[in-house]
């Protein structure tokens, strides 16, 4: 009150205060505080940086999720300079020094995606917004991968996909911030069809059981196209819900359908259940159209083969990678993983490990965590030494182009891990395709969205 009596009105105090704020240069900082503090999403300011691991630890693909977690922990230890260094010594070229990324130690947070797209998206959101994850990685389903990479594009965070095999991931749903090391359904079809033609002939009638979501649809489409090109007929293609447990009602119609091949477009636990039950229905012991009835699982992993046990013997499929390859990268990774966990790594573990290393390497090469620069470092990057031969991270669709394996269930396993034999390694040139083939737009890298 006394101040006002001396002539300092409230209006005058406000005017003077505002003039002082503007004059001292505080105002620009005040209005752009967010931009200065965080010119891109979760810019790491301390001496650590956090990876967000989005893993299906429960649900139909839980086994893959558990193996991915082990691989990420191993990769992070190796990036930080712990353990035997794993694949860092064989990755060529590499900018990794074994002292973290740009001198910052790597830590991680994780979330159980439950093999569900909505849960995966919610987990990724939480890890970005609450835990400050600089990069999201993981997942074993294409439904999850597509949901999470869409989110990452919106939030300006790079997504290094785990196991995802749908053509859509790097096709119609591709995103600038999403990258896939794993192969896809089209490549499975192109790789597998010649072997099927050679083994089972060109006069076959196929019946498809397909997991009813993006991956199943594109796999069915790709395998149908590849087998029909061989001369096979498609009798029927029946969709089954993801996570089904009892397939008996889908299997009984096959018995008298006129089909002589059953193609299981299933993965993870779904495939273990459908294959086991198909064998229980006597499908491998029966004859149809004067031929031995056959079962094909276009995408197969060691974990699934182990789960299916006896049922998988002799069955053909394709894999992204196998621990029994004899290149230096595979030997180094199998040794490192086996020493840490007492079992060889699965293809899910391999792709997870490689993705973590490739992101770290790209940041080192870019010299910054700024996502658009990291994206540039990954796009068109050619590397070798990771177990798949020379590999290109294609700039047009963010799909890795590399060799594909055709595998077969081992008839005489020498151990519980010796469940798949490598039949053929298809060179990458034979499984490469036009990046425009599956449509989609990557979208922009800049301006980098701000997550908060």
């Amino acid at each position: 009150m006394t101040l006002l009596k001396r002539g300092l009105s409230r209006r005058r105090v406000l005017q003077t205060g505002m003039a002082g704020i503007i004059g001292s240069g505080i105002a620009p900082l005040m209005f752009t505080k967010g931009a200065w503090a965080q010119e891109f999403c979760n810019n790491p300011t301390g001496d650590t940086v956090t990876f967000g691991l989005n893993l299906p630890l429960t649900g139909a693909y839980a086994e893959e999720g558990a193996d991915e977690q082990k691989a990420y922990e191993l990769a992070i230890a190796h990036i930080n300079g712990e353990g035997d260094g794993g694949l860092i010594s064989v990755l060529a070229p590499t900018a990794l020094k074994g002292n973290g990324i740009l001198g910052k130690k790597v830590g991680y947070v994780s979330s159980d995606s439950q093999t569900k797209s909505d849960v995966a998206r919610a987990g990724a959101t939480r890890m970005i917004e609450r835990d400050g994850a600089i990069m999201i990685t993981g997942g074993s389903s294409s439904g999850e991968a597509i949901a999470v990479q869409g989110l990452c594009q919106e939030m300006g965070v790079i997504f290094m996909a785990g196991l995802t095999h749908s053509n859509d991931t790097t096709g119609k749903d591709k995103r600038r911030y999403g990258f896939r090391h794993f192969f896809n359904a089209y490549q499975s079809g192109v790789g597998l069809a010649p072997v099927l033609g050679q083994e089972y002939g060109s006069d076959r009638r196929a019946y498809h059981l397909t997991a009813d979501y993006t991956w199943g649809w594109t796999q069915e489409e790709s395998i149908k196209a590849a087998t029909e090109a061989l001369g096979w007929d498609t009798v029927a293609a029946v969709r089954t819900p993801l996570g089904s447990t009892d397939y008996s009602q889908y299997l009984t119609p096959i018995l008298n359908s006129g089909a002589d091949v059953l193609i299981l477009n299933h993965y993870g636990l779904d495939m273990v259940n459908s294959l086991t039950q198909a064998v229980q229905f006597g499908m491998r012991d029966r004859q149809a159209n004067g031929k031995d009835f056959q079962i094909v699982t276009p995408l197969i992993s060691e974990l699934m083969a182990k789960g299916a046990g006896e049922s998988v013997k002799g069955i053909f499929g394709t894999s992204n990678w196998h621990w029994n390859l004899q290149d230096p990268g595979t030997i180094a990774f199998t040794k490192s993983f086996g020493a840490a966990y007492g079992s060889p790594p699965s293809q899910a573990a391999h792709t997870a490990y490689v993705q973590a290393l490739l992101y770290a390497d790209a940041v080192e090469r870019a010299g910054t965590f700024y996502p658009p620069e990291v994206i540039k470092a990954l796009e068109g990057h050619e590397f070798d030494g990771m177990g798949n031969g020379p590999t290109l991270y294609r700039a047009e669709d963010h799909q890795c182009i590399k060799n594909v394996l055709v595998v077969q269930g081992n008839e005489n396993p020498s151990s519980e891990y010796d469940v798949l034999n490598i039949v053929q390694e298809i060179p990458r040139d034979e499984v490469a395709y036009d990046p425009a083939m599956f449509g989609g737009e990557l979208g922009p890298a800049e301006p980098a969205p701000l997550c908060a």
């Binding site: 819900p241 008996s248 008298n256 229980q280 012991d285 020493a339």
Partner: protein, 343 residues
């Protein structure tokens, strides 16, 4: 076409047998104790894990390291010797091969104890509480049981092989004098169907032809009057809860070769079983069995390619659709009694 329809019918009976077996235990508890038991699926799951535990005991091994041979990661190779075969020779091998049916021996006492402990320890305190509270507490119990199993056995399914002699499919067509290899069906599924039939028949015979069963039925009809006659009906109802737990447990044990059990297996069946009980009529044992088979058969036929071509996705909703229709036409279900859950 006859073969296709016959096979789907057989598949429906097989599915229906599983639904009926679980719904039967659920109805036993509701009919005797008046408790809506959401932990019944957990009892199915615990039974399945009795089979898992039994097999793990039978397949215990001695592990020795062979320094001469190395694994691909450079560790000495482990040489494993099964203990049971070492102790019992060929009998041990047969026991391991038949571990699933043999585990019934341990499942019956374990599930009886679990059921009685559950009823005496927790559920009896909720008899006079509203059904909503009973559902909450039993659902809570189911979650606890799931988490305990998950912490011991992990989240992933554990395959239980069926005996080698019972693998593959039986040629039912040839057995019926038809063409060979046209109507074939998995042997274990036929065994499960027959097993369900025996258990369901056994429970009905027990209730129908024994004094104990007669008293229980009298207690289900009029609990107070039976009590006034000096009969300790509570004790009999406790045993009935134990019996329901045994039925659920045995259903779980025999299902393990068809579906590798994990901690969540009971929940997968619980919702379906409740639909079966509601369609059959709350508290009606014949209703539960009839509805189980009816829904199993309808679900099987709805999965036929020809039916799905007419109405896409019908296989996913058929059970709930039929439940809605039956409850609209017969609000108490197929065999429901007046006054049950209508207070």
């Amino acid at each position: 076409m006859f073969e296709v329809i016959f096979l789907q019918f057989l598949n429906g009976l097989d599915k229906g047998a599983a639904y009926a077996l679980i719904a039967l235990g659920l109805t036993l508890v509701f009919g005797t104790l008046g408790v809506v038991n959401f932990a019944h699926g957990a009892l199915f799951m615990l039974g399945a894990f009795c089979a898992v535990m039994f097999r793990q005991l039978l397949t215990l091994e001695t592990v020795t390291l062979d320094p001469e041979k190395l694994s691909p990661w450079g560790a000495p190779l482990e040489i494993r010797e099964p203990l049971v075969q070492a102790w019992f020779g060929d009998f041990g091998a047969v026991l391991v091969n038949y571990s699933v049916p043999a585990s019934i021996i341990i499942t019956i006492p374990i599930m009886l104890l679990v059921g009685i402990a559950l009823e005496r320890g927790i559920i009896k305190h909720f008899y006079k509480r509203p059904h909503a509270e009973q559902i909450l507490v039993t659902f809570g119990l189911a979650i606890v049981a799931q988490e305990v199993i998950k912490s011991f056995f992990g989240p992933n399914p554990i395959p239980q092989p069926m005996p080698t002699d019972l693998r593959g499919a039986a040629d039912i067509g040839a057995f019926l004098g038809m063409q060979a290899n046209v109507i074939t069906y998995p042997i274990w599924r036929l065994i499960y169907f027959l097993f369900s039939f025996v258990i369901i028949g056994g429970v009905f015979a027990f209730l129908q032809f024994t004094t104990f069963g007669m008293v229980v039925r009298a207690g289900m009809a009029d609990r107070e009057t039976v009590g006034l006659l000096g009969i300790n009906i509570d004790r009999r109802f406790t045993i009935m809860f134990g019996l329901a737990a045994v039925v659920a447990g045995l259903a779980g044990v025999m299902y393990t070769p068809l579906l590798p059990p994990n901690y969540h297996i009971g929940m997968d069946f619980l919702v379906l079983s409740f639909v079966v009980v509601v369609v059959g009529g709350m508290g009606s044992l014949p209703g539960a069995v009839a509805a189980g088979f009816l829904l199993g058969i309808l679900q099987s036929f709805a999965s036929m390619t020809q039916v799905k071509a007419l109405i896409p996705g019908i296989d996913q909703i058929i059970i709930y659709l039929v439940a809605v229709v039956i409850l609209l036409v017969l609000p108490r279900g197929l065999f429901g009694r007046r006054g049950v859950m209508e207070a």
